[in-house]
Structure formats: C-alpha cells, structure tokens
C-alpha cells in the first residue's frame, strides 16, 4: 500500500479535494499507459503495436496460457484470426518469442490494483425505510457545501478516522494498492508518481508519500546516487594503496586496469542477466574493486620479488608461486558470495550471484591480463626497493611482520589461548544481536522518506498493514455469531494491548453501522446483528465495495490491522498475538483456518528467512571452503589450521554486532558468508607459501620465517586494500550500507590478522611438517 497524504490547515477544503482528484487522475493515467510504454520499450514495438499486443492478451487471456502463446507466436494466426497487419504480426510474434510470453504477461500487468481516497469511499445511511449506500462526495461536484456535507459524514462514522482523515482535520490520505509486479517496473512507476507530484505542487498543501513499496523502492533508487561517487572514491583509495605498496606506476596501473575491466564486465553482465540495482547490489563495484585489488597485489608482489630479470620469466615465476593461491583464493571467494544464491530473498540471491561472477572475472583478468600487460611492455623490468630491503628493512610492514614472527614463534600457546578467549567473548556478544528488518533503518534522519513516514505514522493509524484472514475450511459461510463475536473482542483487545496498533477494520464495522442505520440511526443498535440470517441479509443489502473485508460468498473474512512503523520484532509479537488469539479450539469449533497476509506478513517472513538463510549459507560456505582446503592441502591438520582464522573472524563479527547493537538484517546477515570467502584467502596464501618453503628448508621455523618474508607482505597489503575498499562504504549516505562496509572491513581485517598471527602459532604447536 502506498500512502499519499495531503496536508493543509483544513483537509476538508475544496483545494485539498481538487488536489486529491488531480493526483488520483494522474496515477490512473500513468497506470493505464504504463504497460504499453514498457512493452514498447522492452519489445521494440511501436506504440500502436504495443497497444495491439495488450489488446490481444486482454481478449485472449481467458483462453489459457498455451492458447495465448500459440496465437501470439504465430504471425499467420495473428493475421488471419486477430486481423493484425502482416508486418506488425511478424514483429509482434518475433518480439513475444524473444522475450517469452511470461515476460509479456508481466509487462502487461497494470501496476495499480485500486486507489482509495475520500473521492470513492462508500458511506451508508438509513432514512425511514430507505437504505442508501453512496459515496462520501460526488467527485464531479466539489464545492463548499458538498465538502461541508462530506465532513459531517466522515465525522459520523469512526471507520474513517485515522484511515482517511487525521483526527485533527489537517491531513487526508489516498491509499494506492499495488498489484504484484516486477520490482523494477514498480520502482519505475513509484518514482514517476513522486516526480509528477513534485512537479505539480499546490500552495498551502504539503504532500507526504510513504508506505512499504515506496520505502523499498526508494531504497533501491536513491542508492544510485551513492554509486555515482562511491565508485570513483574507492578507485582513488585503491590507487593510493597500490602506490603505497609498490611505489611504481606499473604496480598501480596494471592492477587498476584489472579492477576497472572486471567492474565493467560485471555491470554489463548485470544488465544482460536483467539483475536490478538494489540496496545490496549497489555495493558490487566497491566490493569488486577491493577484491580484485588483492589478486593484483599478490601477483605483482611475487612478480617484483622474482629474481628473474626478464618480464616473461618473472611473470612465469609469479604465476608459479602465487597462481594456485590466487585461483584458490578467488574460488573460495566465489563460493562465499555464491552461497548467497541459496537465499530466499531475491536481492540477496542476485547479489550473491552477480558478485560471484564478478570475482571470477577479477580472477581471469588478474591472472591473464596483468601478465599480458606486463609482457607487452618493451622496457626492462623495474627493480623495486622493497624487494631488497624487505626483511631487515625499517619500513613499518617489515618491522611489524618481524615482530609477529618472533612473537608467534616464541609464544604460540598464548596466541591460541588469547584467540580462544576472543571467540568466547564474541559468543557472549552474539546473544544480544537483534533481528530487525525495518526498512527505515536504511535512511538517514531528515531524509524525505523518513519525514513522510514519521508524519503519516503519527497522524494516521499506521503505514504497516497486517491482515488476518479467517476462512471456512469447507466453503460454508463464516459469518456465524460465534466468529463475529470473537472478531469483535479481538479488535478491542489488540487495540488496547498494543499501542502500535492504530486501527483495525473488519466486516463487523460495516455490520454494526448497517444495523444502526436500519434501526433509525439509534446508537443502541451500534452492535452486531442478532443472528446469522440477518447478517447474511445485511450483506445482500450492502451494494457498495466491501470486497476488502469479506468475500461475496461470505466464506472468507479479513481483519485489517494498521500498525505504526517500528521494530519488526515488535510487529512479529503482534502477529503472534493475533494468530494465537484465534486458538485451536476456535478454529475447530467453527471449522475455519486463520492465516496472516499482507505486505507486513511478507516482511516478517523475509525476516525469518534471514536467520535461516544466514545459517544455511554460512554452513554451506564453511563446508565448501573446508573441502577446497582439504583438496589443496591434502592434510587434515592444515585444513583445520586454515579454518581457525575464519572462525575467529566470524565470531568477532557477530560479537561486535551484538556489542554495538547492529541489528541482523538482510544486508548485515550476508557479512559472515562473504567474509568466509575472502578471509580464507589469507590462510591459503600463507599455508601455500609455507608448504613451498618447508619443502626447501625442512624446518618449521625457517619455513614460517620465509613465508612472512614472502607472502606476509602481500597478505598485509591485501588486508589493507580490501579493508580500505570496504571502509569506503562507510561514506555511503545509508546507515545500513555503512554498517555493511564497516562490518566486512572489520571481519576481513580480523581474519587477515588472525591468519598471520594464529596460523604460525598453530603450525608451531601442531609441530607436524606438511605432507608434500
């Protein structure tokens, strides 16, 4: 439900109603022209052809999908049966074949199901033996008198209060019920409505647009503005880091080219696969920049460290030393992101898939393009200082690595004990993690949408809609006195128990009003009809629009609950209360089933899916990564050791979330899975080089020392570049992206440091040489 609130000093005014009428007509026109425009654009048809195609679907959809498909895909039939001119018939059938009938049917849908406003809401009144169902006001006769009449009517029936008008008379709201359409189309539609309203302001009238679709869609649309500058920002950061690491333009230029190529390929793939930009996928370029930089860093480090002088030989050697590690590191990262494909939430799933593809591109680019770029150069290979002075030099990273080597070598037990302590503390923190998917968390204070949501939630019953449906199991009527009585008590109880429940509406509200109007408007008749027969006949008498609360054959009732926007966990309590209120005994006595539905219900479902998805994708990526490690290292103990930094890093991630009060939501829940894929890279690089060094030296201490000298520096640079890349996200306008970036940066950094601190200690303690 989209809510458009129009506020002024007096909402019962001609000006307000005229504006509501203008908005309604604008939305209607947009609604009607929208499918043809999209079909025309997406199928490459002219306006007339799209209109014709819509007409064909419209006239033939009752005949079933198969029949529709065979008609639309056959130009001869289109011509002979539907009188479509030959060329157009060919064009239409080709276009339908190309995009598939399913897509055409998706584009064919009207975005809006229903628009409710003061202009088309029913009013019921009795007058002697007359029973009248009419509109609150005739939209063609809006004048001071009719508006005053209307105000009287609105005030006479509590049903409208906080649903149609605010209690203080300053706000009236139009609600637009959307059909379930492709999220991209819905977003486009919502943006257009907002744009047109903004372009046509009325003096003295403020407009507030809110409601779940607007919020979720705004999330995705305003993220685009973030993309505009976060990407250049992260690229600049990468240039700075590469400069600091290599201090040579080749070390900056080639990895940067790799980064840019993989980002372009990935964005192109998104377009080809028709994956929309969402709150999460907005981070794809930044994530790729960070990840791809790591592969470049490893390759370039080993390239420069090669003792060979020719570019070709050095590239070959670098490939030998780091190639396998880079490939495995990339594959595990692909697994980490790929595990999100198991998510039931489309945005997360898409994000996982596209990033996994992007990481794969980065891998290809890093191990194919970078060596090629290097070899294409005619000049001799530059000799970099850090290669000479590496170990005994006085630069910070060398000193730091030297310190780590000594410490972990001398006190491996302490290192492991401290790690264990950190894990325990983190587990303690995990307990206080809160599960929350309030989309409003996505917005900063003072943003339009937050102001509108707050305002509408304050003045009205609430923008969150939860429906409770009571449906007969055997298709009989559900309007028995027992059921209606229970609903009556439920409406009273839930409203008094939860302050967030702003309003409930059920068929009872209509029945009571009718009973009163049928009995001369006397307030003592403001109660439910005396028996089922009367109830049934009242429903017959009611000729207005009542489909929202009861089906016409009276076998299904719906209770609308308007809830103020708040924490999802609180709303889940409300839903739980509602569902258990209609207990087993009630259900079996009355032969009904009771279920919840509505947009809120979807959000709550999504919320539970987060936890399930979190656990399953976490386990999946851990398992796959462990198998990969076992395959590479062919050693149980090395596999185990390689996984320790991951466990520490992930535990710290959740621990920090608990301690800082960062909620687990759609975005923060993917941090762990992603971190596994990236975090294991450090273990791979470290252990891979350790095995090579051990083979040469046959001594654990020497092997560890050489590993620090060789890959330690690359890992450190890698940790810095990835962390910095994700930290860039903290400059996003959106709190949730900031949390995402911050958490990944923290987790990746923890895992990276854990790898170069814990792995040597663990190797020392295990004391066993690696198998060859």
């Amino acid at each position: 439900m989209i809510f458009i609130g129009v506020e002024s000093e007096n909402a019962y005014s001609k000006e307000t109603l005229e504006y509501i009428k203008w908005i309604k007509e604008m939305v209607e026109r947009l609604n009607w022209s929208f499918p043809a425009e999209n079909i025309s654009r997406e199928l490459g048809l002219t306006g007339d052809e799209s209109v014709k195609l819509i007409e064909l679907v419209n006239q033939n959809e009752v005949r079933g999908k198969d029949e529709l498909k065979s008609l639309l895909e056959n130009p001869d039939r289109l011509n002979s049966e539907a009188f479509v001119e030959n060329n157009a018939a060919k064009k239409i059938s080709n276009a339908v074949k190309k995009v598939s009938l399913e897509r055409v049917l998706e584009l064919y849908k009207l975005p809006v199901n229903d628009i409710k406003s003061v202009l088309n809401i029913d009013y019921v009144r009795g007058e002697g033996d007359r029973f009248v169902v009419e509109k609150l006001i005739d939209p063609d006769k809006i004048d001071d008198n009719s508006v005053a009449d209307m105000r009287g009517r609105v005030k006479s029936w509590n049903l409208y209060d906080k649903i149609l008008f605010s209690s203080d008379d300053t706000l009236t709201v139009m609600s637009i019920e959307m059909n379930s359409i492709d999220i991209n189309l819905r977003q486009k539609f919502n943006i257009e409505i907002e744009k047109r309203i903004k372009e046509n302001p009325r003096s003295g009238l403020n407009v507030y647009i809110a409601g779940e679709p607007v919020v979720s869609d705004r999330v995705s649309s305003s993220t685009r503005s973030d993309l505009g500058w976060l990407l250049p920002f992260v690229l600049i950061v990468m240039v700075l880091i590469l400069t600091a690491v290599f201090r040579h333009y080749e070390g900056v230029l080639f990895p940067m080219m790799g980064i840019i190529i993989s980002i372009i390929w990935t964005m192109g793939t998104m377009v080809v696969l028709n994956i929309p930009m969402s709150m999460v996928s907005i981070t794809v370029p930044t994530v790729l920049a960070a990840v791809a930089s790591a592969y470049g860093i490893h390759f370039m480090t080993h390239y420069y460290m090669s003792r060979e002088n020719s570019r070709y030989e050095s590239s070959m050697e670098s490939m030998k030393v780091s190639g396998l590690a880079i490939i495995m590191a990339a594959l595990t990262t692909v697994v980490g992101f790929g595990s999100l494909a198991t998510s039931d939430m489309t945005h997360i799933k898409n994000y996982g898939i596209i990033t996994a593809i992007g990481v794969f591109y980065s891998l290809v680019v890093s191990i194919v393009f970078i060596p090629v770029f290097l070899m294409l150069r005619k000049s001799t290979k530059p000799h970099l200082k850090f290669v000479d002075k590496e170990y005994d030099s006085s630069d910070f990273s060398s000193r730091f690595l030297k310190f780590l080597r000594r410490y972990t070598g001398n006190r491996p037990g302490t290192v492991l004990a401290v790690s264990l302590l950190i894990v325990c503390l983190s587990i303690y923190g995990i307990k206080s993690i809160e599960l929350s998917m309030n989309s409003m968390d996505f917005f900063q204070e003072g943003s339009d949408i937050k102001i509108a949501e707050n305002h509408l939630n304050n003045k009205l019953a609430g923008t969150q809609i939860l429906d409770i449906n009571i449906e007969s199991i055997d298709g009989t009527e559900v309007i028995t006195p027992a059921v209606l009585e229970k609903i009556e008590n439920f409406q009273k109880d839930i409203t008094s128990k939860f302050s967030d429940v702003g309003k409930t509406i059920s068929v009872n509200d209509y029945l009571k009003k009718m009973n009163m109007e049928m009995n001369g408007g006397k307030s003592e008749y403001n109660r439910l009809p005396d028996n089922a027969a009367m109830t049934r006949e009242y429903m017959l008498l009611y000729s207005g629009d009542i489909d929202g609360v009861i089906t016409r054959n009276l076998d299904k009732l719906r209770i609308h609950i308007s809830i103020k926007r708040g924490k999802i966990s609180d709303q889940m309590i409300i839903r739980e209360y509602a569902l258990t209120y209609f207990d087993e005994a009630f259900r079996s006595d009355n032969k009904v089933k009771v279920e919840s539905s509505g947009f809120m219900d979807l959000i709550m479902e999504a919320n539970s899916l987060i936890v399930e998805g979190q656990v399953s994708s976490l386990l999946l990526s851990l398992a796959v990564v462990a198998v990969l490690m076992a395959l590479i290292f062919k050693s149980f103990s090395l596999t185990l050791i390689s996984m320790i930094p991951l466990v520490v890093g992930i535990a710290m991630n959740f621990g920090v979330m608990g301690l800082l009060g960062i909620p687990l939501n759609a975005v923060t829940s993917v941090v762990a899975s992603i971190s596994i894929g990236m975090g294991i890279d450090y273990s791979i690089h470290f252990i891979n080089q350790y095995r090579v060094s051990y083979a040469e030296s046959d001594d654990i201490d020497t092997a560890v020392a050489r590993t620090y000298e060789g890959t330690g520096r690359a890992i450190l640079s890698n940790v810095v570049s990835v962390t910095a890349g994700f930290l860039v996200l903290m400059f996003s306008k959106f709190p949730i992206i900031q949390q995402f970036g911050g958490l990944i940066a923290f987790t990746v950094a923890s895992t990276g440091f854990a790898a170069i601190i814990i792995i040597p200690a663990a190797l020392k303690i295990s004391g066993r040489p690696p198998k060859q």
């Binding site: 209607e28 609604n31 009607w32 819509i54 007409e55 419209n58 006239q59 959809e61 009752v62 009207l110 088309n120 033996d129 007359r130 029973f131 009248v132 169902v133 009419e134 509109k135 005739d138 939209p139 063609d140 298709g475 009527e477 049928m518 028996n531 027969a533 009367m534 049934r536 006949e537 009242y538 429903m539 017959l540 008498l541 000729s543 207005g544 016409r552 054959n553 009276l554």
Partner: protein, 210 residues
C-alpha cells in the same frame, strides 16, 4: 456463480416475474432455495427517473428501499450488475453505430456506447444486438484502462408468446476478479399474473408461482 481461480461454484434458484404497463416494466425476483430463500427484490421502472428498488429480507421483516448511487454495482452477490439485469437507461450513454455483423446464426447490429457519467467504471461498451429480437447477445465492457474487464453473453433465445423473446442463458464473466455468473432459465411462460404482488407492502406474500 463460479470462482474461475479455484473452480468453486455456488448455485441458487429464483423465480422472476415481470409485467410491462405502458412501456414501463416492474419486476420481482425471489430466491427460493439456499439460505437466501424468501429474499425478494422489487424493481419498478419510472419515467425519466432512477428505478425504485425494494429488497425484502425475511429476517428484517420489512422491505427496504435500496438506493445505490451506482447502477454499475453488482446485483446482490452475483457478477451481474443492476444495469445488466434491466436497469440501464438509454439517456445514460452516447452511441455510435458500428458495422453490422453475423454472430452464429444471428444477424446483428453492433453499437458502441459511452457512459456520460464521468465516474463510470467503464470507458465504453461494445454491444452486439440480435436484429430479430433486439436482444443483446454479447456485450464487452471496457474499463477505464481501455481493457475489457467484463463480458456478457446471451444465448438460446426463445419466443414465449406475444412477441416476448427471452434468452434462456445469460453469462457474465468478470475478467478482473476471475468470476463468472451464469443465469439459466429452467422454464419461462407468458401468463396472467396477480398484479397485487408488485407492491412493496406485499413482498412477503407467498406466490402461487413459487
């Protein structure tokens, strides 16, 4: 009545009586089975004014004059609108004649009519009328979106006496709500009626025809 999504159906029997005096029709419809048994509706056509409609509900005990602002609203819980069942007025539309066509065995006029009322649910109707009996055989209702939202078909036209022709079969499909209502006439005859039935105060009376 049929829900076209889940296939559930519901049926109901009714007796309909109509008289025409001076070109104006009065009609009575009474449900004779199901929980609606006894529910009776009286429609009285008036020159130049909206029809008067009374609904007698057994449990309420006295008839109520019902006034819907909208003739396009459905007749009780069917998919027929009040208009479909004879409540339509010539003056409510602008007309345009389209080319004649043959529908099955029937030679037909085709007209397009446009509601004058701006708050109508429909932008236009395309009506196919049997030339011989002047009974509409097919009506396509175009919503304001320009799409067909409802169709009505009539068939099996029978002559039951003095130039009285009625379709024995009427079907309305609500395309948006995916519901269908079929009206099948089991028997129809022309006969002398007790005109006292057509009185709002006698709507509860038992009919000989029941």
């Amino acid at each position: 009545m049929k829900n076209m999504v889940n296939g559930s159906t519901e049926s109901r029997k009714a007796v309909v009586m109509t008289v025409t005096k001076g070109g104006l029709t009065q009609a009575l419809i009474r449900f004779t089975d199901s929980s609606y048994s006894g529910t009776t509706m009286l429609t009285v056509e008036r020159p130049g004014k909206d029809n008067l409609q009374y609904l007698y509900l057994p449990s309420v005990g006295s008839p109520r004059q019902i006034e819907g602002s909208d003739r396009e609203n459905n007749f009780v819980d069917t998919d027929f609108s009040n208009e479909d069942l004879g409540g339509s007025r010539i003056a409510d539309y602008n007309y345009k004649r389209l080319a004649d066509q043959k529908t099955g065995a029937y030679d037909c006029y085709v007209i397009e009519r446009f509601p004058k009322n701006s708050s109508s649910k429909y932008s236009r109707h395309v009506v196919v009328i049997d030339k011989a009996t002047m009974i509409p055989l097919n009506i396509q209702f175009y919503g304001r979106s320009g799409r067909v939202v409802k169709t009505m078909r009539a068939g099996q036209i029978r002559n039951i006496g003095n130039s009285i022709n009625i379709p024995m079969y009427l079907e309305v499909v609500d395309i948006e709500k995916k519901r269908q209502t079929t009206l099948s006439v089991a028997a129809a005859e022309e006969k002398a009626l007790n005109q006292g039935y057509f009185n709002r105060n006698r709507m509860s009376a038992k009919w000989a025809e029941q």
